[in-house]
Structures are given as structure tokens and as C-alpha cells.
């Protein structure tokens, strides 16, 4: 390969990365800006992070967002697991196709439509909007993602394993818990983290589903930005970014440790000559 081609490739890669990540990097850098003005660099400072701790409103919203993300991710992972089980382990029951469609529909449904539908529904049933309706909205939004993630893993896990467990005296429930669950555990963790991040950064559904007492962090940020970008917003956004990065990192760690384990197996097989039977 000529040097020119090699450089052209590197340059393309660089441009791609700049396009994708420059705005985020600028946001994070500006959160350490001592100046009040977004466009002028006034030296390094962490004062906006300190100011965050005093901002009761923002902290309250962050708590609401975290609580909603934890609760809705837990519920939607559980529901997704149940849906995936029914779609893979219960044969072709009569309403299987309907369930399959219903579970996947929110994937392609415009969020605005879903949000409006939820709002109409809450109003029709006379449910006062607040934290609970927010969680319900987020479960509706994220359940399709958790179902898809777990469904793929359950499809890959061999049903003969559960049959073998039952053959050896485990009840169907016991067989699932002892044999199938360990196989799909990484997918469940991934599904949970996915639901968590989706809920954490959701603005549209939250705007429709929540009430005055439970304003989420993205909603608070959005409303403050309309009045002008404060460096505090940059700081909280950077923290949010870090949180999501940690969650994604964890997910990557789970799947790579699994891959590494399998990789080790291959090398140890190659090393041990006494393995040939």
C-alpha cells in the first residue's frame, strides 16, 4: 500500500471521528470553561460543577431521572424477559403473531405519537400525571428493546439444554433458572443497560407522560437552554454523558469477558496435548 493511500485513509477516519464526536468533545471541554460566555475560553475551572451542587432544581430533576430510569429499566427487563420466553418457549399459540407484532410495534412507532397516545390514555382514565405515569411511559418505550435483545439470546440458547435439565429431574421453572438463565444473563444485563440509558435521555415521552412534580433532567435542560445556554448545563450534560459511557462500558465489558473466556478455551485446548482422547 502506498503512503498516499494510507494517509488518505487516516484522514478519512479522522474526518469521520470529528464529524461524530467534535460537538460532544466541545460540550465537555466548555463545561470546564471559567468564562460565563459559551463562545470564549476563559481558562480551566470546575466552578460550574460546584455550582451544580447548589442548584436544587437541577439536582431534584437528576434524582427523578435516575429513579425513573432504574425503575422502568427493571420493569421493562422483566416484562421483556417474560415476552421473550412466551415467544420462544410456548410453541405457536393462537395469539403469538399478535403478541410478536405488539411487542415490536413501538420500535417503529414515532415517539410523539406514542407520547400523545399515553397522554390521551392517562387523561381518559383520569390518572394524575407524575412519577408513576412517567415510569409507565418509559416501560412502554423501552420494553420493545429489551424484548428484542433477550429474544435473540433465547433463540440462540439450545432448548435441548432445558430438556436435559428436566430429564435430570429439574422442574420446567428450575430448568429455566438453572440452565437457560445463565446462558442469557449477558443479554439481560445488556437489555437492562439499554433500557436504562433510553429512559435516562428520553425527552419526548417524558414531556407527555410526566406531571409538574416530576420533571426529568432532559426536560429541565431543554427548558433552561431555551433561556440561553449556561455553562451549568454543559456540566450536567457532561456528567450525563459520563454516566451513559459507564453504562455502555459495562455492557461492553460483560460481552468481552464472555468472548475472552471462549478465546481462552481455544488457546488452552491448543496448549494441552493430553486433551486428545
Amino acid at each position: 500500500m502506498s503512503a498516499a493511500v494510507s494517509w488518505a485513509r487516516r484522514a478519512t477516519l479522522l474526518i469521520g471521528f470529528i464529524f461524530l464526536y467534535a460537538p460532544i468533545v466541545i460540550l465537555a471541554v466548555m463545561s470546564f470553561n471559567a468564562s460565563r460566555l459559551v463562545s470564549v475560553w476563559g481558562g480551566f475551572s470546575t466552578k460550574w460543577y460546584a455550582a451544580l451542587l447548589e442548584n436544587e432544581q437541577l439536582l431534584h430533576s437528576a434524582k427523578i431521572s435516575l429513579a425513573a430510569a432504574l425503575t422502568s429499566a427493571t420493569i421493562s427487563t422483566l416484562l421483556g424477559l417474560l415476552a421473550a420466553i412466551s415467544l420462544t418457549r410456548f410453541g405457536r399459540f393462537r395469539t403469538r403473531f399478535l403478541l410478536f407484532g405488539a411487542v415490536h410495534a413501538p420500535l417503529v412507532l414515532p415517539e410523539v405519537v406514542l407520547g400523545l397516545a399515553l397522554l390521551t390514555c392517562f387523561v381518559a382514565f383520569g390518572v394524575g400525571r407524575g412519577f408513576i405515569t412517567l415510569v409507565i411511559g418509559h416501560v412502554t418505550l423501552t420494553m420493545c428493546f429489551t424484548t428484542v435483545a433477550i429474544l435473540a439470546a433465547l433463540r440462540d440458547s439450545d432448548p435441548a439444554l432445558e430438556e436435559a435439565a428436566m430429564d435430570l429431574g429439574a422442574t420446567p421453572f428450575g430448568a429455566f433458572v438453572r440452565v437457560a438463565l445463565p446462558q442469557i444473563a449477558p443479554a439481560i444485563v445488556t437489555a437492562y443497560l439499554l433500557a436504562f440509558t433510553l429512559s435516562l435521555d428520553d425527552l419526548v415521552i417524558a414531556s407527555f407522560a410526566t406531571g409538574p412534580g416530576a420533571t426529568t433532567l432532559p426536560m429541565r435542560i431543554y427548558s433552561q437552554v431555551r433561556l440561553g445556554v449556561s455553562p451549568q448545563i454543559n456540566a450536567i450534560s457532561t456528567l450525563l454523558l459520563a454516566l451513559v459511557a459507564v453504562a455502555l462500558g459495562l455492557a461492553a465489558l460483560v460481552s468481552s469477558s464472555r468472548a475472552r473466556r471462549d478465546g481462552q478455551v481455544v488457546t488452552s485446548l491448543a496448549r494441552a496435548p493430553d486433551n486428545a482422547s
Binding site: 439450545d158 439444554l161 430438556e163 436435559a164 430429564d167 435430570l168 429431574g169 429439574a170 440452565v179 478455551v265
Partner: protein, 350 residues
């Protein structure tokens, strides 16, 4: 004879419009090594899954030691199965895989340790207890699967194509191991296989199945020497089908296009159309003398024998095995002789 351990009575099973089992009846005795033999799709695996409890028959009963098994879920049946894919638990090591059934029975820790170590020794896996499943070779996995299925001391062990995934050399070795383990444990084994050599080598009795029905149940020798139907004769081993008309005047013989072949008439009436199944190695080959004249068309050296294709009539070619040391060339004329009782006479089907 004491009551059979496993008793299957007129079991039928359909999957939609597909008939998987039709009126299957058979018995397996205690300590017996029984084989279900047939081509793929003959229903042998379905029958095995019915015995294990993963499928329930539409009609008929399956009883173990006289107790009807219908409605008994797999986890309450004293029957264990060795899966074709082995279905070993990848997240558990070899020891825990074998201990799985014992733990479900709530045995004490000492009893479990003792039993698992006993089985590890029996299957020559003592050094592998802490290995992960992914670290094992195919042969080792096969032995773990066998040990795991034997651990809870089932009354009956089902083996679904247990040697199917092994290469040829390992398969032969494993056949002897399997037989020895069966003798040691005194457990009834029911093996499902499509490999006739495997069934003949391992089983005390064989049920040959075809399209959901049992064609014949008999010992390996009888299956081979006295096949009940044309299908059994053709499926198990190599054979010649010679068609003709039965003559019962004097010594019974089959009148064919190329001559008279002596045979046992069984219960067929004189004059009936019938087919004689004769194994190649039962046909005598000589250069001259008595017998049916033919011309060697082709030959295949098989080591122990040489298989000849001999044309005895314009449209009939028979396969005959010449013993080691005899040399024949293409175009040689030979005489084929059929000792009485060499073949099995089969009635015209339909």
C-alpha cells in the same frame, strides 16, 4: 419370562398430517440393550421422546415396570436420556454437569461426590472433573453426557444417536466402552440409531422401524439372516433380491429366470410369487462345477472378501463375495451356488 421393564402398547403419534408413529408395540427387558433402527424420519426419535416424556402419544400406553407413564412429566420419570447434541451445560464444569441430576434428587454432598467420582472413573474422565465443557474434545463430551445421564441411576437409559458425532475410529472404540458400561451398570439401554452396523454390534435386540411402524423385532443375527420384510433385508446389510415363483414339489425352490434356487418355503403356498433375499457372502463362487453360470462384470476388493458383480441373465446382476485369495478378472465365467437356507424368502408385498 418376568414382566418387561418397558412396555409400549400400540402407540400412535401424529404431527399435524404427518404420521410419526403408528401402532407401535414393543417390550424392553431389564438389563437389555435394545436398539431402535431406521432411516431418518422413521419415527424412532419421536418414540424415544415419548418414552422420555417430551412428547405424549395420541393413542396407546407406555408403561415402566408396570406403571403407566402417561401424564408423568419428564422430571418425574426414572428414565434418563443422552441427547444427540449431548446438551451439556456450558456454564457448569464436568463435575457439576454429572452432579446435576443427583443434586435435583437432594442427595447428600458425600453421596454426590462419591457417585460422581465413580462415574468419572468409569468413563475415564477422573482428571477432567474441573474442566469446562468447552475445553473437552468430542469423545470426552460424549463420555460426560453418558456419565451425566447415568448418574441418577435411571431404570432405563435412552441414547439418541450416541456415536453419531464421533469419527469412525473413535466410534468403534466407544462401542466397546458403551457395551462394557451397560454390562457394569446393569441398566437397560435403548439406543436410537440409523447406523445398522452400530445396532448389530451393540444391541441384544433390534426393532427396525420404517415410516412410523415397526417392521421387525429380533436379535441381530435373526435380523440379518432372517429379515421379515424386504425393507429390513435391504436396510440391514447388503443383499440380493431375486424374484421368482415358489415351487413346493419335492425340495422347495424358487424358479427364477436363470434357474432353480433351493430355499426354505416358510408358509408360502406353491406357485406364489416371492422374493429371495441372499447376502453376497452366502453365495458360493467357483470357477466350474455345479451351479448357476454367470460372467464377472466387475469386482471390488474389500480386504477380507472381494465383491463380484456377476451377470446371470441379460437383465439380472447378482453380487457375490469371493473369499480372500481367490482372484477373478472381468469377463471370467463363474458358477454361483446357493446352499439351502442361504437366503430368506419374502412374500410379495402389497
Amino acid at each position: 419370562m418376568s414382566a418387561p421393564l418397558l412396555s409400549i402398547k400400540s402407540v400412535s403419534k401424529k404431527f399435524g398430517a404427518v404420521v410419526a408413529l403408528e401402532d407401535v408395540s414393543l417390550d424392553v427387558g431389564a438389563g437389555e440393550f435394545f436398539a431402535l433402527l431406521g432411516p431418518s424420519g422413521c419415527g424412532k426419535t419421536t418414540l424415544m421422546r415419548c418414552i422420555a416424556g417430551f412428547e405424549s402419544p395420541d393413542a396407546g400406553t407406555i408403561a415402566l415396570s408396570g406403571v403407566d407413564l402417561s401424564g408423568v412429566p419428564p422430571y418425574r420419570r426414572p428414565v434418563n436420556m443422552m441427547f444427540q447434541s449431548y446438551a451439556l451445560f456450558p456454564h457448569l464444569n464436568v463435575f457439576e454437569n454429572i452432579a446435576f441430576g443427583l443434586r435435583r434428587q437432594g442427595e447428600t454432598r458425600d453421596a454426590i461426590d462419591a457417585r460422581v467420582n465413580e462415574l468419572l472413573a468409569m468413563t475415564q474422565l477422573s482428571a477432567f472433573g474441573h474442566r469446562r465443557i468447552a475445553e473437552l474434545s468430542g469423545g470426552q463430551k460424549q463420555r460426560v453426557a453418558l456419565a451425566r445421564a447415568l448418574a441418577p441411576r435411571p431404570k432405563l437409559l435412552l441414547l439418541d444417536e450416541p456415536l453419531g458425532a464421533l469419527d469412525r475410529k473413535l466410534r468403534e472404540e466407544t462401542q466397546f466402552q458403551l457395551k462394557e458400561i451397560q454390562r457394569l451398570t446393569q441398566t437397560s439401554f435403548v439406543i436410537v440409531t440409523h447406523d445398522q452396523d452400530e445396532a448389530l454390534a451393540l444391541a441384544d435386540r433390534i426393532a427396525v422401524m420404517r415410516a412410523g411402524r415397526v417392521e421387525q423385532i429380533a436379535g441381530p443375527m435373526e435380523i440379518y439372516d432372517r429379515p421379515a420384510t424386504r425393507f429390513v433385508a435391504g436396510f440391514v446389510g447388503e443383499t440380493n433380491f431375486i424374484e421368482g415363483r415358489l415351487d413346493r414339489n419335492g425340495a422347495a425352490a424358487l424358479i427364477t429366470e436363470f434357474g432353480r434356487i433351493p430355499c426354505e418355503p416358510r408358509n408360502l403356498p406353491g406357485g406364489a410369487r416371492a422374493t429371495l433375499s441372499v447376502r453376497p457372502e452366502r453365495i458360493g463362487v467357483a470357477r466350474d462345477g455345479e451351479g448357476i453360470a454367470g460372467v464377472v462384470e466387475d469386482f471390488v476388493f474389500r480386504g477380507e472378501t472381494t465383491l463380484l458383480r456377476v451377470r446371470v441373465a441379460s437383465n439380472i446382476v447378482l453380487r457375490a463375495a469371493a473369499s480372500h485369495g481367490e482372484r477373478h478378472a472381468i469377463g471370467d465365467s463363474v458358477r454361483l451356488s446357493f446352499p439351502p437356507g442361504a437366503g430368506a424368502l419374502l412374500a410379495e408385498e402389497r
